[in-house]
């Protein structure tokens, strides 16, 4: 996929460029908002990554004019501030997601994956991945046809895993999507509920359906 990165800090841009290239994406980098806008007019990009503070102004305004010019592909904003105002204003002006610096490579990749899929849209009730099936409307889950009884938070965690189709979902994304928390509580509530989900999901099965990667997140095994 082709991505455009608008970021003035060369070291961070290099790091992001390396991450994304390793993951198989094609990345174009520009250091200013204006040149970014010109690039989007000349070429097609599947996704934009825009820094909030740019030498020629606020990244939010870049996203704003992009949206006004009819650009509909996903936009991920980067910020060093992490303030509530920052996040709300970014989303209000048309960004699809928001990532606070510094971030781990896995976090960035997980979010980019999620944005791509979100832009494809998936609205049906029943979803399947490997041996797991969920009904989102009735909030029911099965593994290999066997009904798994889950608490609300456990179901929502599983829902995230199924919707991400075997890709990693970070702890922060779980906090945002399941709890709607954009802060990190001292206690790892994701881990607590994930371990319960794992117990219920694996009871009576030989293999662990969920794979945990330290500092990366959780995903469903494709062979479960």
């Amino acid at each position: 996929m082709r991505l455009l990165l608008i970021e003035d800090d060369i070291a961070i841009a290099d790091y992001i460029g390396a991450c994304l290239s390793n993951a198989g994406h094609e990345v174009r980098h520009v250091p200013e908002g204006q040149s970014g806008l010109v690039e989007t007019k000349n070429e097609h990009f599947d996704l934009l990554i825009v820094d909030r503070i740019l030498p020629d102004g606020d990244g939010v305004l870049v996203v704003d004019s992009l949206r006004k010019s009819g650009f509909t592909n996903p936009v991920l904003m980067l910020t060093a501030l992490g303030s509530i105002e920052d996040r709300v204003e970014g989303l209000r002006h048309g960004a699809d997601d928001y990532l606070v610096k510094p971030f781990a490579q896995a976090e960035l990749l997980a979010r980019i994956d999620a944005l791509f899929r979100r832009s494809k849209g998936a609205f049906q009730d029943v979803h399947e991945y490997a041996s797991i099936t969920i009904n989102r409307r009735r909030r029911e889950a099965w593994r290999a046809g066997q009904r798994i009884m889950l608490q609300p938070r456990e179901f929502e965690l599983l829902e995230q895993l199924v919707l991400h189709e075997g890709r990693y979902v970070s702890k922060a994304m779980m906090l945002e999507n399941v709890w709607n928390f954009h802060f990190h509580p001292d206690t790892n509530i994701v881990e607590t509920h994930m371990s319960r989900l794992r117990q219920k999901l694996n009871a009576g099965f030989a293999s662990d359906a969920i794979q945990t990667a330290r500092r990366v997140g959780y995903r469903l095994r494709d062979d479960c």
């Binding site: 961070i12 790091y15 060093a80």
Partner: protein
């Protein structure tokens, strides 16, 4: 004295109307009394003049001329009535219904032929030859004139009252409108719209002067908060960027170090350290953002009961893992205006504090209840508690107490909760739960935010 007692535009208006009415009544009363005296004086002067001319007539033409003049006047139906008596009390002229009056001025009643009483003003004076003459005149026309005057005065007073109330209401509305304008602006600023200013009428009047003073004050507040935000944002940017580089390098190092080599643990620990620096840093920035009040712009009404139930549901599993118990007593359907995420953060902070500072077996209870027009969000534990003397230190940033209680934490938990309570125009209260600690966040229930109030 009066001015000190006046508190509202309504009182000023009432005072204004009352003043006008009293002034009107006084003025009308004086006009009436002066008019009354003038008319009476005129009547008396006329009577005196008649008396004088009759006395003169008697002196020149004798009693006969006097009688002739009186009779002629009576026949003509002139404006005077006469009673003339001789020295022996014998009535020489005058109707029978007219009484004999003593020497001097009188307000008397004469009766006409039909026996109707007529109020008169009369003067009785001695004449030559022992005669006594009473000259009287009907005061009814004068009384009618005074009555008409009185009616006119009353009408004028009525018009005055209506006008005074009308003007008063207009005046009150004008004051209230200008005050409302100021109040609305101040409320908007409290609500986080720091760029709000009071619109000036352009007349350069006292209100405009006050408004422009307020506006410069608001400008100053905005500049100060803007400054603070700028500094926070600069600090955040300048600090986060090198930390980002650091963390990225460490992550790369982690990938490059072969598994099992001794450097791996060190790098892993270094990543942990940088994460702690960031969490401390985020908490500090969050507190300063919350304290600036700008987040109030994003306030909306939400169901605190439902959100609390969700938080309790999420943390009861955490409590269970720690060998503790998390209970709740949540009054359903309590709505508040606020930031759902910040209040959730406050709740999780309080629950985590209670679970982390006390050992297994601790029972933590979250209560949401309405108390009159406020909402209490209360977290109580039965653990070690805090000495009442240490409460202030527990609320201070980086307070030693917090550091002692929670060596892994950053000592910003309760200060953040306090900032969040204040953001919601509420308060934070610590109490000794004997045993344990009870922390209450007092919130306004939905629709109880301060509104324009000039009444």
């Amino acid at each position: 004295m009066i001015a000190r007692g006046v508190r509202s535009a309504r009182q000023i208006t009432l005072l204004f109307v009352a003043g006008l009415v009293i002034a009107g009544v006084l003025l009308g009363g004086i006009a009436y009394l002066v008019g009354h005296d003038a008319i009476r004086g005129q009547i008396d002067a006329r009577i005196e003049a008649e008396m004088h001319s009759l006395r003169h007539l008697q002196k020149q033409g004798g009693n006969r001329a006097l009688l002739a003049a009186i009779d002629e006047d009576d026949e003509r139906g002139g404006s005077f009535d006469y009673v003339l008596v001789n020295a022996w009390g014998h009535r020489l002229s005058g109707e029978r219904g007219h009484p004999l009056l003593a020497i001097g001025w009188h307000d008397a009643v004469f009766r006409d032929d039909a026996g109707n009483g007529i109020p008169v003003r009369a003067l009785t004076a001695p004449l030559d030859d022992g005669l006594r003459l009473t000259v009287a005149t009907d005061t009814a026309p004068a009384a009618a004139l005074l009555r008409t005057t009185l009616v006119l005065l009353a009408l004028a007073l009525l018009v005055l009252i209506v006008l005074a109330i009308g003007c008063g209401l207009l005046f009150e509305r004008a004051i209230r409108r200008r005050l409302d304008l100021m109040n609305r602006t101040a409320v908007a600023i409290i609500a986080g719209h720091l760029d709000s200013r009071i619109a000036l009428s352009g007349h350069g009047d006292e209100f405009d002067q006050l408004a422009s003073t307020f506006n410069s004050m608001f400008g100053r507040v905005e500049a100060l908060i803007g400054n603070l935000r700028q500094v926070s944002s600069d600090v955040a940017h300048e600090l986060r960027t090198p930390i980002t580089h650091l963390q990225n390098r460490l992550e790369r190092a982690l990938e490059e170090i072969p598994p099992g080599s001794p450097g791996l643990e060190t790098v892993d620990a270094a990543i942990g350290d940088s994460e702690r620096i960031l969490s401390l840093f985020s908490a500090l920035l969050r507190i300063s953002e919350v304290e600036s009040g700008t987040v109030r712009r994003y306030f909306r009404t939400f169901d605190l009961s439902a959100q609390s139930a969700m938080v309790v549901e999420s943390y009861s599993a955490v409590a269970e893992d720690k060998g503790c118990q998390l209970l709740s007593d949540i009054e359903p359907g309590i709505l508040v205006d606020g930031d759902v995420e910040l209040l959730s953060q406050a709740m999780t902070n309080l629950i985590e504090n209670a679970l982390n500072h006390n050992g297994p077996g601790t029972r933590v209870t979250l209560v949401i209840e309405r108390c009159e027009d406020r909402v209490a969000l209360r977290v109580t534990d039965d653990g070690k508690g805090i000495d009442e003397a240490d409460f202030p230190s527990a609320l201070r940033r980086f307070g030693r107490l917090e550091a002692r209680r929670n060596p892994a934490g950053h000592g910003l938990g309760l200060p953040l909760v306090q900032a969040i309570a204040r953001l919601h125009q509420g308060a934070l209260e610590l109490q000794d739960a004997r045993p344990g600690l009870r922390v209450t966040i007092w919130l306004r229930s939905e629709g109880q935010q301060p509104r324009v109030g000039t009444h």
